[in-house]
Subunit: 217 residues, 2 copies
């Protein structure tokens, strides 16, 4: 049973890797669509979110199957349920990429105000790096890399402060609409990173069996 | 075993009811603090969020215990795991109440701009009604009432549109800062309602064993 259990757990992990890669690609395309104002790309991101949802559904089914047939206990049980938590975080990251794409669609043909572009581009790059790391640690089970995710999130918080500083500063000339969109965008990148850190923390537990402190929100 | 299983499930439900009542009270106090600019109340909401987190932790522990000792299968298994999903939604509602309280703290001593007050008050009342219904259906297992939650959410979406209309309209005279705060507030009430609807959908499954369609996000 032990070997079969491991094989089934590896199968769940594979699906989680596919989810992580999917939501990374989704946010990358959504950010590119936002900064280049490409409506087609943005629409595809919104539509593709159903694939992430389908993968999450697969994770749930596999976990139920594993629980029902292997009836794991103690730390094995926690490991299996942790897969559900990781799946839920990744699923939400897909939603947030879709939200960014929807802002890109709404802004067509107006681009993000010039002075916000560098910080939005940095948030997009940070989000991409974090999501890439989640996929990587799911694949490699590298605990040290998973632990790095905690600090990658600090960078996003710093960028969010910069973004707000620009919109709330005296030099802001774009009025309320772009500032409201900017605030929502900032929030979505930040939440994307939060969920990635949560997922990373769960991966850390998934691969080492050790719990980290819960995330601040 | 069957009876013991039911008793343990009832115990998990009790903890979920306590969480639902807690996050309802938290959002009610956060909204009151926001509209009356009461810093003490707002601070207490932020501090009290740890209690919600502790209850969620209890739900997780009880679910693990139940899974390990009763090894439920099929629909029983889904029911138990559903409790985790409900707990996660309620936990997030607590976070969102805390976010509203933090805006209240940041605004001291400036109140919400006069023209936003009625719609924010309506969002607060809608959030309160929805959270109350989640607690109620968890307690009573009333499937018809749980199903109502779907439509209560539509009301929140409508209020969010009104809020944005006010801030993006030509009559807006409060500049960017209050609009950004208003956008975030609107978003948090909306997410609070979303999580409540998700929880309600899970409760529906929890009490009837029937799944509803997944939430749009």
């Amino acid at each position: 049973m032990r070997e079969e259990y491991r094989a089934e757990l590896a199968d769940v992990t594979q699906t989680l890797v596919a989810m992580a890669e999917g939501v990374r690609g989704a946010m990358r395309r959504a950010s590119a669509a936002l900064l280049s104002v490409d409506a087609t790309d943005a629409e595809e991101v919104v539509l593709a979110d159903a694939e992430t949802d389908a993968l999450y559904h697969q994770v749930e089914e596999k976990v139920y199957d594993l629980l029902a047939r292997q009836a794991p206990v103690a730390s094995d049980l926690r490991l299996v349920v942790t897969a559900l938590h990781i799946g839920a975080d990744l699923e939400r990251m897909g939603d947030l990429a879709s939200h960014v794409a929807k802002i890109a669609l709404r802004r067509v043909p107006t681009a993000v105000p010039e002075e916000l572009r560098p910080v939005i581009a940095d948030m997009a790059a940070t989000a991409d790096g974090i999501a890439g790391k989640v996929a990587e640690v799911l694949r490699t089970a590298d605990a040290a890399r998973a632990a790095e995710l905690e600090h990658d999130d600090d960078e996003m918080d710093e960028l969010l402060k910069q973004l707000y500083g620009l919109m709330l500063g005296t030099a802001w000339r774009h009025g309320v609409g772009p500032a409201v969109d900017g605030a929502l965008l900032g929030r979505w990148y930040e939440r994307y990173a939060d969920h990635a850190v949560n997922a990373g923390r769960s991966v850390l537990y998934f691969v080492t069996g050790e719990t980290a402190a819960p995330a601040a929100s």
